[in-house]
Symmetry: C2
Amino acid sequence: MTANDGVIHEPRACDSALARAFNFLGKRWSGVILGTLTQGPAGFSELRRAVTGISDSVLSERLTELVGAGLIERFVHDGPPITVEYTLTVAGKGLLPAMRELTTWAECNLPA
Amino acid sequence: MTANDGVIHEPRACDSALARAFNFLGKRWSGVILGTLTQGPAGFSELRRAVTGISDSVLSERLTELVGAGLIERFVHDGPPITVEYTLTVAGKGLLPAMRELTTWAECNLPA
DNA sequence: CTGTGGAACTTGCTTTTTACTAGTGGCTTG
DNA sequence: CAAGCCACTAGTAAAAAGCAAGTTCCACAG
């Protein structure tokens, strides 16, 4: 160690912010749920239908997580016909541009 | 069915392109691997160090998948000291803008 | 030439996540 | 009041991820 003191081969880490993002998005279904919600609020069954393939329990779990993370909100409208509505929070809406980028990318680069 | 023929309450599906994107990105680690590779090519061990927490077997699997999907390429430089290098393909590089969006979003909305 | 160590994986086994039913309680519809 | 939708919760089985070790090829130290 003669000349390059201090510059100890930084091991090239992935951006920690990106890593944090993929703590949520890297979980199966989260991205699609968020993506669906970008089109507007939805109820539980509506989401289940939109996110083809997901099961009730996992949807419930993912929603709880995302609410906990502050990306979506859960509103209970008690009618009498009590309904639940999930919407994006401000933080969640911030994902819109990224989602759009992702969508256009997928359209060009991922054949169906 | 009198006036609204054809407009049968479309069940609001998530954009299929987005869903396709999350077929890859929705898997644990894929996003971070791709994100690391946006900073330049890397070898296996380099990736293992960059993607903190991933195991060898999963990294190997993810890389194979991503190669198969055409997002990254695997080059074998046989020296004698034979080394392998993973780089983004053109399709993979197309993810850059989306990644950037995601990173800035995470910086603002996801506290460490 | 023996020993240490890195690169790039693969294999085998355990633990965590997901998925697949079912079931609950409130409320509407016929 | 039976049948059905909504929003979930519970229980269990299958799939994925994690962990630890082993492998081959090579380089460098002693």
